[in-house]
C-alpha cells in the first residue's frame, strides 16, 4: 500500500513538473531533461497499469525496460554539461577530455571482462547491469561536478536543482542496488521502499528548483583578457613555484 502511494505521488510530481514546464514555456530550454521526465512519467504509468492489471508480468517488464531509463538518464548529464559549460569553452574542453578518459577506462574494463569471461559487462543479472550503468553515470557526474566547482561555473537555481536531484537519485540507486545484490533477499523488502522514496526526494528537489525558469547567472563583466593559454599556464606555474620557494626559504634555518 505504501509503495503504491509513493508510486502515485511520484507520477503526480512528474506530471506537475511537465505541466509547469509547458505552461511556463521553458520546456524547450531544457529539452533533454524534460525528455527524461516525460519518459519516466510514461513508463511509470504503463508499469502501474501492468502492476494493477497483470502483476505477474510486472517484474519482467520492469527489468526489461529499466536499462532504457538509464540510457535516457545519460541525456540529463549531457543537458547539464551543455547548459552549464556552453559559455565556457575552456572548461568544456577540460570536461570533454575527462569524459573521454573515463569512457576509455570503462570500455577497457568491458573489453578485459569480455576477454576473461563469458559475461562482457560482468553483470549476471539485470539489477547488476543497472547498478553498473548507474555507476558509470555516477563517475561522469563526479567529473562534471569537479569541473564545475574548480572553474567556479555559475549554475543558477534550475541547473543546480537538476544536478542535486539526479545525484541524489544516482548515488542512492548505486548504494541500494549494491546492497541488494550483496545482501540478497534480506534487503529486498527495504529496497522496494527505499528506491521509490529516494526517487521521490529527487522529484521534490526538481519540483522546487524547476517551478519556474531562471536564466543562468553571468558575471557582471565579461573578461577582456584574450591571454594565450600557454603564457597564462606558464605564469601561474611559475608563480606557484615562486611561492613554494618562498615557503622553503622562510623555514630553512
Amino acid at each position: 500500500m505504501f509503495s503504491l502511494a509513493v508510486w502515485v505521488v511520484g507520477l503526480a510530481l512528474e506530471g506537475l513538473l511537465l505541466v509547469r514546464a509547458i505552461l511556463g514555456d521553458f520546456f524547450r530550454k531544457y529539452p533533454l531533461f524534460y525528455l527524461y521526465v516525460g519518459w519516466v512519467f510514461a513508463l511509470s504509468s504503463v508499469r502501474l497499469i501492468i502492476y494493477l492489471a497483470e502483476p505477474a508480468y510486472y517484474r519482467v517488464f520492469y527489468w526489461y525496460t529499466q536499462p532504457f531509463s538509464v540510457l535516457v538518464g545519460c541525456g540529463l548529464v549531457w543537458e547539464v554539461y551543455r547548459q552549464a559549460l556552453g559559455r565556457y569553452p575552456g572548461a568544456a574542453r577540460m570536461a570533454r577530455n575527462l569524459f573521454l578518459f573515463l569512457l576509455v577506462m570503462v570500455l577497457s574494463k568491458i573489453m578485459v571482462n569480455a576477454w576473461n569471461g563469458p559475461v562482457w559487462w560482468q553483470a549476471g543479472t539485470t539489477a547488476e547491469l543497472e547498478r553498473n550503468m548507474r555507476a558509470v553515470q555516477g563517475i561522469l557526474l563526479i567529473a562534471l561536478i569537479i569541473v564545475l566547482a574548480h572553474y567556479a561555473i555559475p549554475l543558477g537555481r534550475n541547473l543546480k536543482g537538476m544536478i542535486v536531484g539526479y545525484v541524489l537519485f544516482i548515488s542512492t540507486s548505486v548504494i541500494d542496488l549494491t546492497l541488494r545484490l550483496f545482501l540478497g533477499d534480506s534487503f529486498q523488502k527495504s529496497w522496494q521502499y527505499l528506491q521509490p522514496v529516494f526517487y521521490l526526494a529527487a522529484l521534490t528537489v526538481w519540483g522546487f528548483t524547476l517551478w519556474s525558469y531562471q536564466t543562468i547567472p553571468l558575471p557582471a563583466t565579461e573578461s577582456k583578457i584574450e591571454a594565450d593559454y600557454q603564457i597564462l599556464a606558464t605564469t601561474t606555474r611559475k608563480r606557484l613555484l615562486q611561492a613554494r620557494a618562498y615557503l622553503a626559504r622562510a623555514i630553512r634555518p
Binding site: 559559455r87 569553452p89 543546480k160 545525484v167 546492497l179 550483496f182 597564462l232 626559504r249
Partner: protein
C-alpha cells in the same frame, strides 16, 4: 562483499560532492578575471605580505634563545603561543595568495578555447602540492612551534647533506644520480644562498 565497497564508496562520494557543490558560495558578481585586469590581484599575488626580516625572525632561534634565559615560565609559554599564532597566520596567508592565484587562473582559462588539459592538470597538481606543503608546515608549527620547525628543517638538511657526502664518496657522481647530465645541487646549497 569486497566487490561492493567501490560502488558504496562511489555513491557516498557523489553525495559528499553534491553537498560541497551546494555549500559553494555563489560566485560574486565580479569576475575574478576583472580584478586581474585591474592589476590589483596581480599585485596581491606578488606580494609577500610578511616582510622577509619578520619571517626570518619568526622561524629563527635568536629571540627564543633570549627568552629561554628569562625566569618566569609563563613568559616562555606566552612567547611560544604568540609565535605559533603568528607563524600559522603566515602559512594561512601564503595559502590564501595561492588560492587567489588559482582562482584568477581558472577564471581566465575557463573561457579559453585553447586550454590544454594536460598543462591544466599540471597547474592543478602544482597547486595541490603547494597546499599539501602548507598543510604539512602548519601541522608541524601547530605541534612543535615555529622555532622547533626551523630546527627540524635544519636537522633534515644536515642529514641529507651528510647522506649526499656519503653517497658522493661511495659512488661516482654519474652513478649516484642516475645518468643525468645535470649537476645535482648539494642539499645544503639553499643555506649558502643569500636571503
Amino acid at each position: 562483499m569486497t566487490g561492493a565497497w567501490p560502488f558504496l564508496a562511489l555513491g557516498l562520494l557523489l553525495l559528499v560532492l553534491v553537498i560541497v557543490l551546494l555549500q559553494r558560495a555563489t560566485p560574486s558578481e565580479h569576475d575574478p578575471a576583472e580584478l586581474f585586469e585591474e592589476g590589483e590581484t596581480q599585485a596581491a599575488l606578488y606580494a609577500e605580505s610578511f616582510p622577509q626580516r619578520l619571517v626570518d625572525r619568526l622561524f629563527g632561534s635568536e629571540d627564543w634563545e633570549f627568552i629561554a634565559k628569562q625566569e618566569p615560565a609563563r613568559l616562555k609559554r606566552l612567547f611560544l603561543q604568540q609565535r605559533t599564532a603568528l607563524a600559522l597566520s603566515w602559512v594561512r596567508d601564503a595559502r590564501t595568495n595561492a588560492t587567489k592565484l588559482i582562482r584568477v587562473h581558472s577564471a581566465v582559462a575557463r573561457k579559453n578555447s585553447r586550454l590544454e588539459p594536460l598543462v591544466e592538470l599540471r597547474v592543478i597538481a602544482d597547486y595541490l602540492v603547494f597546499q599539501i606543503l602548507c598543510q604539512l608546515i602548519a601541522s608541524v608549527i601547530w605541534l612543535r612551534g615555529p622555532v622547533a620547525m626551523g630546527r627540524l628543517v635544519g636537522y633534515a638538511d644536515d642529514l641529507s647533506e651528510r647522506l649526499y657526502k656519503v653517497n658522493s664518496r661511495a659512488f661516482p657522481a654519474e652513478l649516484a644520480y642516475g645518468h643525468s647530465n645535470r649537476q645535482p645541487a648539494p642539499p645544503g646549497a639553499g643555506r649558502a644562498r643569500g636571503r
